[in-house]
Amino acid sequence: MALMRSIALMLCLAAGALRAETAAPHLELQASRDFGYTLGSLIEHHLRLWLPDGAELVTPLLPSPGAVNDWLDLRTLRWKQESAHVVRIDVTYQVFKGVRDPETAVIPPLAIAYRVGGTNAEIHTPEWSFGLIPMIPPATPDDKVMLRGDAHERQFPARSAFYRFVGFLSAAALGALALAFRFGLIPGLGRRRPFADACRRIARLRSASPDVRLDAGLRAIHEALAKTHGKPVFPAMLDAFFEARPVFAPLRAEFEAFFDASQRHFFEPGAEEADNSAHCQALEGFCRRCARLERSA
């Protein structure tokens, strides 16, 4: 029995010790080096804070950037919850301590506030001392020190602005060239747009009599076809035409109707056109559709 009781007691103690272990928050500080700093140097501290169950960082109470003392600035402080119990805090200091000879300076403890069970508590970073060295050789008399000169004004980046200007101008010129090419404004290179021209010519004839309009309209489209194909297109050549200009293939039926109408108008003697104006309308629509296809080519 006595043995049993003593084992139970030991277990209790062990559990208590374990709880005590987890209950105590502790902190670990890492810095790259602790020597060779001069005035103006930045010092980075990486803190890892272990917090017990239920404890959490009180972020509003974390030290805020600003002067720590008359020669030390806290520049930045960032924190990150690494896991349920571990918080990582990165602190950057800047030293403004001027020294005549190498000396050791001490960064005072930093208070990190946390809350556990409704009450606030604090844990302090350890004091951290580091070696500070002067830039001016220690033995130099004050009146022999040559001060560093003023900062100079900077030249304006005229050259790079000029290059950008030329670059953008060339890009714009290229764009304009491509547009001109698309709209056939470059002689010899750009494609002409015979159907668009034909449409304009047909539109110009609106006030003329239907007979004249039909005649001129048919001729205009014949001409546009010839220009597009490079030679006059006759009804028997439609297949070859569509093979050479597949863009127009969707309008095959309309092309055939056009050639029928043209044949009737020009060659069939006495073919009375009852409604030439309707034909003109159809012709204009056909020409517009051709012009649209022509543009998409």
Partner: protein, 342 residues
């Protein structure tokens, strides 16, 4: 005859013409174009010059045509020693030992002669050419002290295009009398070539031609029909302009932007198509319109016969005459491609 009478006549004849065409097509493979043109020539009452390699079916074609038209068919081979007399009569010692004079190939059948085929015409002497010229132009010949008329005569001549030696080029006046000059070539299509090679039907020409119904066309009536066709098919203003432009283009191709390589087009042409030539072209075109079932002309009618009726009438500058066969084709294609209608 009234115009409605004409109409019904034309309507009657059209199926017959098409029947002739299709029955000839059955016998000859890959010759649809020449057959159509010969059909046009028959109804335009024009003579035809055939040009092509040896053994491509020129003779078969003509025999088929002759059989279809009906009437008498004669042929003669052009040789260097052929004299005009040989066409008109031939003399020999008969079985009784007496000299005898018989009518030659032209006269043998009298006015019934409908197809006369002059093979290798360029081997014959110019004297023979001039006789032929008269026969073609006037459909008559003087022999045995009288005029013989051949109202139904249609002359087909054949020119060997391979050999140029010991040949006499046909004078331009004679060439101008031919309505058409057709190029006969072996079919390009592989299937048709295979058919020609391996189908036994094409090996026996005599038997092959028997499949053509003789005398599909009553040849005696064609002479009367031809002018009716010419009268009934009309040409609109736009079409007349187009035909005129084509003619103009054979004289001044440069004006229509026709170009062959970098030749100077003004130097190329010595004489464009003759007036007779273009009227013959229009005759053939009208027949084409009629065969197509129309009573008006469209540009396709002219385009279909332009090359055949015009190419041999354009005379090139002597410098270029040697390259004629190559240049003239390009010229015709250029003209057809560059003259717009309307």
């Amino acid at each position: 005859m009234s115009s409605s009478g004409h109409d019904s006549l034309l309507a009657d004849w059209r199926p017959r013409a098409l029947a002739l065409e299709s029955s000839i097509k059955q016998c000859l493979i890959g010759m649809d174009g020449p057959i159509r043109h010969i059909t046009l020539a028959i109804f335009a009452r024009g003579h035809v010059m055939l040009e092509g390699d040896v053994g491509v079916g020129k003779t078969t074609l003509l025999r088929a045509v002759a059989r279809g038209i009906g009437g008498a068919y004669e042929r003669i081979e052009g040789t260097i020693d052929l004299m005009p007399n040989d066409l008109v009569y031939h003399t020999y010692i008969n079985e009784d030992g007496k000299p005898q004079v018989d009518p030659g190939p032209i006269l043998k059948h009298g006015p019934e002669l409908s197809v006369f085929f002059f093979n290798e015409v360029n081997r014959a002497r110019p004297q023979v050419h001039s006789l032929l010229l008269r026969v073609m132009a006037e459909r008559s010949v003087t022999a045995f002290n009288r005029e013989h008329f051949f109202p139904h005569l249609q002359v087909f001549a054949d020119r060997n295009r391979v050999e140029k030696e010991e040949t006499f080029e046909i004078p331009s006046a004679a060439r101008d009398r031919f309505l058409m000059e057709l190029h006969i070539e072996a079919p390009e299509d592989q299937a048709e070539r295979l058919e020609l090679m391996f189908n036994p039907r094409f090996h026996d020409v005599d038997k092959l031609l028997e499949s053509i119904e003789p005398g599909v066309l009553p040849y005696r009536e064609i002479a009367g029909l031809a002018p009716i066709i010419q009268e009934s098919v009309r040409a609109s203003d736009a079409l007349q302009q187009y035909a005129l432009a084509l003619w103009e283009a054979t004289r001044k191709p440069a004006a229509y932007d026709v170009a062959i390589g970098n030749l100077d087009m003004d130097q190329l042409i010595l004489a464009g198509a003759s007036a007779r030539g273009v009227s013959m072209m229009m005759r053939a075109a009208r027949v084409a319109a009629w065969l197509d079932g129309r009573d008006y002309l469209v540009p396709e009618d002219i385009r279909g016969v332009f090359r055949e009726t015009t190419a041999h009438r354009v005379f090139l500058h002597p410098v270029y005459e040697l390259r004629r066969s190559e240049l003239i084709g390009e010229l015709m294609t250029g003209i057809l491609n560059n003259v717009p209608a309307p």
